[in-house]
């Protein structure tokens, strides 16, 4: 039993890593006041781009970089539409998801069923990985797990304790005041949304070259939407995103570990989505108790003339 729990916990961390990348990015975008529902589309563009680049060059890091750029590029469309043109952010984000799903399907048609020649192997952190129980649980993952793990506190620090973070938060809470204090509202929002896209791209890349190395059409299978929910669950806090993402990794692992018990795989496949709704319920209760809410200017386009 303990072995089962330990191995499930071990598997939960990589399963949650793509969600963590995506959530960290979306937290930044939303803290700047822009809701981007295109995460699913940006993630899958990351998946196909990374797979394509790694397939033809064999260079994993180049693949990750290309995936981040693909995600950022798609995010720029949303940024232009929602920040400059001030269109409805919900609909624009949806359009982005559709676009990403479609373009990735066309781009990936030559990659279906192809294996990758290179793989990303776990690194054993010297000494620490030899500690019994804790060692295998904490110190034997692939490098990207650690990158995501380090990014969370780093992004938390930048957001809460630097000038940049202050600008970002002020733009998301009260853009008019931020503007009058000399913050370039448009530039900050553009940056935050583009950064969010790059992170979603990395999350998608993790799926297609590390977690389950292959290209399958629509392989993100709703992960991007879970990211949107996790952003709410994390109360727009990068550190809490860590908790949410790994918790969800655990649910995903549970989904596969419960299959041998004879429960229909289709019913088990509902688990993450049912759990998402439950988790939103849980955070709603907390939000009402502790008076935390979304960034006040979320979904509100800004314009000097119409403030």
């Amino acid at each position: 039993m303990i072995d089962f729990i330990l191995s499930a916990l071990r598997a939960a961390i990589p399963a949650g890593t793509p969600l963590l990348f995506g959530t960290l990015g979306e937290v930044y975008a939303e803290r700047s006041g822009v809701l981007n529902l295109g995460v699913e589309g940006m993630m899958i563009m990351g998946s196909v781009t990374a797979f394509g680049v790694v397939y033809s060059t064999g260079d994993v890091w180049l693949g990750m970089l290309a995936a981040a750029m693909a995600g950022a590029l798609l995010a720029l469309i949303h940024a232009f539409a929602s920040i400059t043109l001030r269109v409805n952010q919900v609909v624009s984000g949806l359009a982005l998801t559709m676009l990403g799903l479609g373009v990735s399907g066309i781009l990936g048609r030559g990659y279906v069923g192809r294996p990758l020649a290179v793989s990303v192997n776990p690194v054993n952190i010297p000494i620490l990985s030899d500690i019994p129980v804790v060692g295998p649980l904490l110190f034997r993952y692939d490098p990207l797990v650690y990158i995501a793990l380090i990014l969370a506190p780093l992004l938390w620090f930048v957001l809460n304790h630097t000038r940049w973070g202050l600008s970002l938060r002020s733009v998301g809470e009260d853009p008019a005041t931020a503007d009058s204090l000399g913050v370039n509202v448009m530039a900050v929002r553009y940056l935050a949304v583009t950064f969010g896209g790059a992170m979603a791209g990395l999350g998608g890349a993790y799926l297609s070259i590390v977690y389950a190395p292959a290209w399958i059409e629509g392989m993100t299978a709703g992960a991007g939407w879970i990211v949107i929910a996790l952003t709410i669950f994390s109360t727009w806090d990068p550190l809490r995103a860590l908790l949410g993402a790994y918790l969800f990794g655990g649910v995903r692992v549970l989904q596969y570990r419960l299959q041998p018990l004879g429960i229909s795989p289709n019913l088990l496949a509902m688990l993450p989505f049912i759990f998402t709704i439950l988790i939103l319920l849980a955070s709603a209760g907390e939000a009402i108790r502790r008076h935390i809410g979304a960034p006040r200017a979320l979904m509100q386009p800004y314009s000097r003339e119409e403030r």
Binding site: L37, G41, I77, A81, T84, L85, R86, V87, N88, V90, V91, S92, L94, A95, L96, T97, M98, L99, G100, L101, G102, V103, S104, G105, I106, L107, G108, R109, M186, E217, G218, G222, W225, I228, A229, I232, S264, N266, L267, A269, M270, F273, I274, T276, I277, L280, L281, A284, G285, A287, I288, S303, E305, E306
Partner: protein, 362 residues
């Protein structure tokens, strides 16, 4: 010295009506141009693609009839969504509500094949409406009671319903005589909708869709409740001060839009497939395409009749394109996404002027 150019939007003092009416169609044309460029970039010959596309959707009587077939679920779901979006209720789960509607109707068709047609078919539509409506009520209740964002919950319910349908057709409802396919048994004749001649146009659903469009149009423009929906969507503060209940609007709008998507699902199982199948076999994303139907029609239910015909053509043409060029099923989403983006932008440009400003940096 000239610095970075920046775009600024200026509100037009008077937006001419012709511009507002024409904007969606101009955007549609521009979107097709953009798709052509995108296709060329992806290595697909755009002219050949468009030719195949148009031929497939509108070039033959068969293509035209299929376009009408695909516009049926789009009218029903699109009209519902135009109602919901007017109240700023972001129901993006019509796809799931459609599947639940199809499931509820199938349950009746499989359980009571001996009922006379005149009873069974209306009962199936009723079941589909109630099922889809109640399914949409979940996000409404979550929003009303706990202020949980309906965008995420309505979408989560799409995945849940699609897995439910999969569970049913692979498991308990799997038809014995279906040679291992994930289908239920074929419906009895009493549960099959009549079709128009040799086509697959199940006209009772089509008539229902047109009727619903007119009724919802009257509801929005001529009734007090429609007025409340519009005010709630455009100015929630004012609505609250005027004593309108947001809760009532939210619940009714979600119930109706979900119910209409449910009707669309009934039409698909009772008019096209005569059985419940795996989710992608029932709907190639009608519930998502319906979002564009509603938006392209500027949330006007009567306009949705026209736009659902256009987007039905898009689906048929997309199919032809996929077959001709060996493209994946997701290709249709390229059309959907691009068109939606351009329609959004076009909508805006009808109301604003764009000015390029050169910021002077010393």
């Amino acid at each position: 010295m000239k610095g970075l150019p920046s775009l600024e939007l200026q509100k037009r003092l008077a937006s001419p009506r012709w511009l507002q009416t024409l904007a969606p169609f101009l955007s549609l044309l521009l979107a097709l141009l953009a798709i052509g460029i995108l296709f060329a970039a992806l290595g697909i010959p755009p002219l050949f693609a468009f030719q195949r596309f148009l031929e497939g959707a509108f070039g033959s009587s068969y293509g035209l009839s299929e376009t009408v077939v695909k516009s049926i679920p789009l009218i029903l779901s699109g009209v519902g969504l135009s109602l919901a979006f007017r109240a700023r209720c972001w129901n993006i789960g019509a796809e799931g509500q459609l599947l639940i509607g199809a499931t509820c109707a199938t349950a009746l068709a499989l359980a009571y094949p001996q009922w006379p047609r005149a009873v069974l078919l209306p009962a199936m539509f009723l079941a589909g409406f109630v099922g889809g409506g109640l399914w949409a009520l979940i996000p409404a209740v979550l929003k009303a009671r706990w202020r949980i964002d309906e965008v995420v919950t309505s979408l989560m319910l799409v995945y849940i319903s699609s897995n439910l349908v999969n569970h049913l057709v692979y498991g308990p409802w799997k038809g014995r005589e279906e040679m291992g396919f994930p289908y239920t048994s074929k419906f009895a004749l009493s549960a099959q909708l009549p079709r128009l001649g040799w086509t697959r146009i199940h006209y009772p659903t089509l008539v229902l869709g047109l009727l619903v469009a007119v009724l919802v149009y009257i509801l929005i423009t001529r009734t007090r409740w429609g007025y409340e929906i519009r005010v709630t969507g455009e100015n929630p503060e004012a609505a609250r001060f005027a004593g309108m209940s947001y809760l009532k609007t939210l619940v009714l709008v979600m119930l109706l839009s979900g119910g209409l998507a449910g009707l669309a699902g009934v039409g698909e199982v009772a008019g096209i497939h005569y059985r419940l199948r795996y989710p992608e076999g029932i709907s190639p994303g009608y519930g998502f395409t319906a979002i564009i139907v509603a938006w392209l029609a500027r949330l006007n239910p009567l306009g949705a009749i026209l736009t659902s015909f256009l987007l039905g053509g898009l689906l048929v043409g997309g199919d032809a394109l996929q077959v001709a060029l060996g493209l994946p099923a997701a290709t249709i989403f390229v059309f959907n996404g691009t068109i939606l983006l351009f329609v959004l932008a076009g909508d805006l440009l009808a109301r604003y002027r764009i000015r390029v400003k050169w910021r002077v940096t010393a």
